[in-house]
């Protein structure tokens, strides 16, 4: 009787250790995932807050055919201009040519200007252009041709 009780308690003890270890392992993984997510999210928010762009065209004399839009990086983050999205009058423009001025870098560095050339001949009237960066920061300008 004494031996069987001791064996049972030993089995319970080992089982308790194993189960609690499994629970702790699962919880640890979840906590790591949450912490990693918080880190990632704070990094994204940090990037978005440090990113700022501004369309600097004179809205009364925007070059037409081709349409030229000038966007200045007035933030603190170097951007990839290949990932910039352009919408003209609500329609995404896929064939725009993007050129960075102001530095020899292939990237869109702070204080440099991105030239967006769209092979379009806009009709006279009011138009809207929206430029969005890789991390979702955007600027919009209404102009008249």
């Amino acid at each position: 009787m004494g031996a069987s009780t001791a064996s049972t308690q030993l089995i319970f003890f080992i089982s308790a250790l194993v189960v609690s270890s499994i629970v702790v392992a699962v919880a640890t993984r979840s906590v790591f995932d949450i912490a990693s997510g918080i880190d990632d999210r704070s990094g994204i928010v940090e990037d978005q807050l440090a990113t700022d762009i501004q369309i600097i065209n004179d809205p009364s004399v925007v070059p037409n055919d081709p349409v030229l839009i000038y966007v200045k990086n007035v933030g603190k983050v170097t951007l990839n201009h290949e990932l910039v999205s352009v919408m003209l009058d609500g329609i995404t423009v896929y064939n725009a040519t993007l050129t960075v001025t102001g530095s020899g870098s292939a990237y869109w560095e702070p204080a440099s200007t991105l030239i967006i050339s769209m092979d379009q001949n806009l009709v006279a009237g009011d138009h809207t252009v929206t430029v969005t960066t890789e991390n979702g920061v955007s600027d919009k300008m209404d102009f008249r041709i």
């Binding site: 940090e46 807050l49 004399v61």
Partner: protein
């Protein structure tokens, strides 16, 4: 049994402490990161709100085809002058230079003046009456006639020459009856003002109005000259024999009779030289405008008499500009604008009296008007300056 529970609780407790501290550390780091970003963002917005600059002046220099824009940093933020952008008529210009002080510093500090220089600025014509600046200086001008613009605006007024700033404010009067008896025409170029005096000779004055010399006085080759034009190499005179003579601008020596009488040339009354030689000519009482190459060849009539009624003055955009225009004072009441091929573009008449005499165009149109005095007409060229943080200002030339 009790020992197992205790062991399990101990494991859970230790795990909780470890994981909580790890999670807390992570959240705390994220909070610090976001807080720091918000602070940076606030600093950027504060910098932008305290960024401001004022236009001192925008001047076009015809001799070297250069536009200078001077701006004062009137805000509280220090800026990188080389990160400034310049747009002319909506086009981003990459060839402009930005200089603060003597050019040794790239920082545009508060109260500092930055000069933006642009060669070949491509000034266009797009004048509208709304842009006109009527200078309240007519009391300075009693009978304004010919006008020429250099560093300042020079207008023949009776036997004197009145001088105004490019913004239209009166500066001083040149009155020298000993040397300048009866000025007929004048041209500001380089360091000198060339004054056709008494229909006999050309005097040179400094830009401050001091008489230098009788530069050209050649009754043999050029008798009774009636109009003068100047470019980098030559002084051109329309003479009493109805041809155009050419003199060296360096020495004043006679070079040649560039355009003889006959053919296209009948009785020229005015001349202006830019990328071409333009003359206002009259034949059988009908006025027309002719154009010649700089070597005097290829004379052709570009504006016929149907457009012209007693034109008194002609001016042309500087030769260095890509787009050039012809400005003609017509019927003493309007300035007609043509392209260099003589195609009519527009007329400027609003705000002008019926006593308009002369015009000259550099970065603006300057008109001498017998009733209104000096009228400065903006050409409509739009210039936008954008600082490194996106603060901008639009200037109309």
């Amino acid at each position: 049994m009790g020992f197992s529970v205790s062991a399990t609780m101990a494991i859970f407790f230790a795990a909780f402490l470890t994981l909580f501290s790890f999670l807390y550390s992570s959240v705390n780091d994220a909070f610090d990161t976001v807080t720091g970003s918000f602070e940076d963002k606030y600093d950027d917005m504060s910098d932008r709100a305290s960024t401001s600059f004022d236009l001192i002046d925008a001047r076009y220099y015809r001799d070297d085809n250069r536009l200078d824009i001077r701006l004062r940093n009137s805000g509280g933020t220090s800026l990188e002058c080389n990160d400034t952008e310049l747009l002319v008529d909506g086009m981003l210009v990459g060839s402009a230079t930005f200089k603060v002080g003597n050019g040794t510093s790239e920082l545009w500090l508060p109260t500092d003046v930055m000069t933006i220089s642009l060669t070949d600025p491509n000034i266009t014509f797009d004048a509208t009456a709304e842009l006109r600046q009527l200078a309240s200086n007519d009391e300075r001008l009693s009978s304004p006639r010919n006008i020429s613009v250099g560093d300042e605006v020079y207008i023949i007024d009776g036997n004197d020459i009145d001088v105004f700033t490019l913004e239209g404010a009166f500066d001083f009067t040149v009155s020298d009856p000993t040397h300048i008896v009866k000025p007929v025409d004048l041209k500001a170029y380089g360091d000198y003002i060339y004054v056709l005096d008494n229909a006999t000779h050309v005097d040179r004055l400094t830009s401050s109005g001091a008489w230098v010399d009788a530069f050209i006085d050649d009754a043999i080759n050029t008798s009774a000259p009636g109009s003068v034009a100047v470019d980098a190499d030559y002084v051109y005179l329309v003479d009493g024999q109805d041809h155009v003579d050419r003199y060296s601008r360096a020495t004043g020596a006679f070079v040649d009779c560039l355009i003889p009488n006959g053919g296209t040339m009948s009785a020229p009354v005015d001349i202006f030289v830019g990328a071409f030689v333009f003359t206002t000519d009259v034949s059988a009482g009908a006025y027309h405008i002719d154009r010649y190459a700089l070597d005097g060849s290829g004379g052709t009539q570009i504006v016929g008499s149907e457009r012209l009624t007693s034109p008194t003055d002609i001016s042309v955009s500087p030769s260095g500009l890509d787009r050039r225009f012809l400005y003609v004072v017509n019927n003493s009441e309007e300035v007609l604008v043509f392209d260099e091929d003589g195609n009519y573009l527009d007329s400027v008449s609003d705000g002008l009296s019926d006593a308009v005499w002369g015009t000259d165009a550099t970065g603006k149109i300057f008109v001498s008007d017998g009733a209104n005095g000096l009228v400065v007409e903006n050409l409509g060229t739009s210039i936008k300056v954008v600082t490194e943080n996106g603060v901008s200002r639009v200037i109309q030339l």
